[in-house]
Symmetry: C2
Subunit: 352 residues, 2 copies
Amino acid sequence: SRSYRIAVVPGDGIGKETVPEGLRVLDAAARRFGFDLKLDHYDWSCETYKNTGRMMPEDGLERLGESDSIFLGAVGWPGVPDHVSLWGLLIPIRRGFDQYISLRPCKLMPGTKTPLANRGPADIDFYVVRENTEGEYSSSGGRMFEGTPREFVSQESVFTRHGVDRVLKYAFELAQTRPRKKLTSATKSNGITFTMPYWDERFAEMAKSYPGITTDQFHIDILCAHFVQHPDWFDVVVGSNLFGDILSDLGPAVAGSIGIAPSANINPEKAHPSMFEPVHGSAPDIAGKFICNPIGQIWSGAMMLEHLGEKEAADAILRCIEKLLAEGGPRTRDLGGQAGTEDVGRALAQAV
Amino acid sequence: SRSYRIAVVPGDGIGKETVPEGLRVLDAAARRFGFDLKLDHYDWSCETYKNTGRMMPEDGLERLGESDSIFLGAVGWPGVPDHVSLWGLLIPIRRGFDQYISLRPCKLMPGTKTPLANRGPADIDFYVVRENTEGEYSSSGGRMFEGTPREFVSQESVFTRHGVDRVLKYAFELAQTRPRKKLTSATKSNGITFTMPYWDERFAEMAKSYPGITTDQFHIDILCAHFVQHPDWFDVVVGSNLFGDILSDLGPAVAGSIGIAPSANINPEKAHPSMFEPVHGSAPDIAGKFICNPIGQIWSGAMMLEHLGEKEAADAILRCIEKLLAEGGPRTRDLGGQAGTEDVGRALAQAV
Ligand SMILES: CC(C)[C@H](C(=O)O)[C@@H](O)C(=O)O
Ligand SMILES: CC(C)[C@H](C(=O)O)[C@@H](O)C(=O)O
């Protein structure tokens, strides 16, 4: 039977609570749809860092590299600076495995609330595709005249044809699978006058190969405004590392789903494992209480199955989430209910 | 009597319709509050460019430099690329006159609608302070391996101590004048690891001099989400050129005021003229019909008077705008009314 090897990294805080529920539902899906998941558990986290001085062992990437996918909880804890936690675990995985696509659905789920007035599920249902390896998150930069009034710091954004074209191609291909076949590009070529015109140029070039796709583009400032004013305009939105980062938090916020949204860090060629993680963080304020919402983790599990080729199982999980939300199944506090983390996980595993 | 010299640049599209209404109200305020406005009119625009090959004459900045303030409509027209129109008029003014502060109120006005559910005027009332001369909008960058698969383009963001400290100082001073005395900083130091940690460092340093100000900071991705989810958290928000640009469109969008919001490009030392312009653009789709809303222009005029030291007159104009909106005065189509551009201008001039 079909079998997949999954590296499981709960990480910090509520990651330790949501990941077991994600696994519970994945296990139910595996049994129902007849495939097998082999799990390798890794307890790498900020605690590991406090004990060993590293977020993961030196051969961490090598070990993860043996898996088909990585199932991640959350990374980060008060007292451990981001450049240690994120740059010691999350970012090395994204880059080391060339997970050059970050994909996030922005979808108003039935039975949940958006902060926008007069908007229903039909109005908010799009994807943000983010470039995940280069652009504004570069390691080229530095400081001069340190400690003097002339001090300055610079950092280079780097856009390569290789990097830009492959994320644009992915976005066009994704748009092609959607009923509206529409792709929006995030730019800022009126202000950022080297890299962004290049992004626009490659977008226009790539569009020629996809005559069936309707395209448009907006500067990131007004695009953020449009997310709030006209979320119904969007189908697939593609952006650079920074713009995609912004849009893929703003999108779920507009959809009211930031607490339950999933995200995928994908190497589309499957040359390396891809990584699936909820959008929310480690939530120190509620960690340890088992009251957090596991849906983001479970939905991330569904995205993982889709990536592994188990589309039927992925769809089944998503339908169960929708049903639970729409029909008043157990809800955690963030959604106005009383249920615990495990109640939701059990209900969804059961439903699957 | 007090007298100010104003350079008037209507620019393109609806700028030509809103600026006269702005002047009408400014004139009424001058008469009522006993000061004098000497106007110099400049018809620089994309039309000028088509006729002369330049957006403004070679000595344009010099001529503007003789004024106390610049009252601008809108810049940009289809067929004229941004790098010509914006970089030939708007950006040279901002930079040439070291207008290093861009200031935009984000305020839900009584009688208008926000796209957010269950939010009233008390929930959305903050300022965005944007650095307006350096940062991500730099002129340092280039392209290598052009036309080959190895092609790449880079652009440097530049943050100087001089540039960062002065915008932070302005923001702290502004926060000090507000009842809540709160300042939020936009960062992304977890991903953009040279310039943004420097921004954070200077923010922390500056905060020491303002012990009475409550401060916090958020990464730009989640900050955009918070604008939508919790606009009531914010009082004054400060950001770099790019982050401030994004937030100062998203803020008015959230407040439902993008069509009526003003903006100021300020040189606080008054070594050079400052410039006041509405947030909206030249709106080619409705230009020439005299149906556009002049309130953004008129409100920008109020900000100009405040900058010139005529605070009483500025407050009076703002109160008249609030009253007109709250009490069903004439409204243009964007606000669900039938009034023309001039009807609104006349009503406000009358009220002042
Ligand atoms: C037109 C453009 C260059 C400008 C900017 O980004 O500064 C505009 O968006 C603004 O905010 O005034
Ligand atoms: C933690 C941070 C570096 C990260 C990013 O900006 O990539 C996060 O915001 C995300 O979107 O996954």
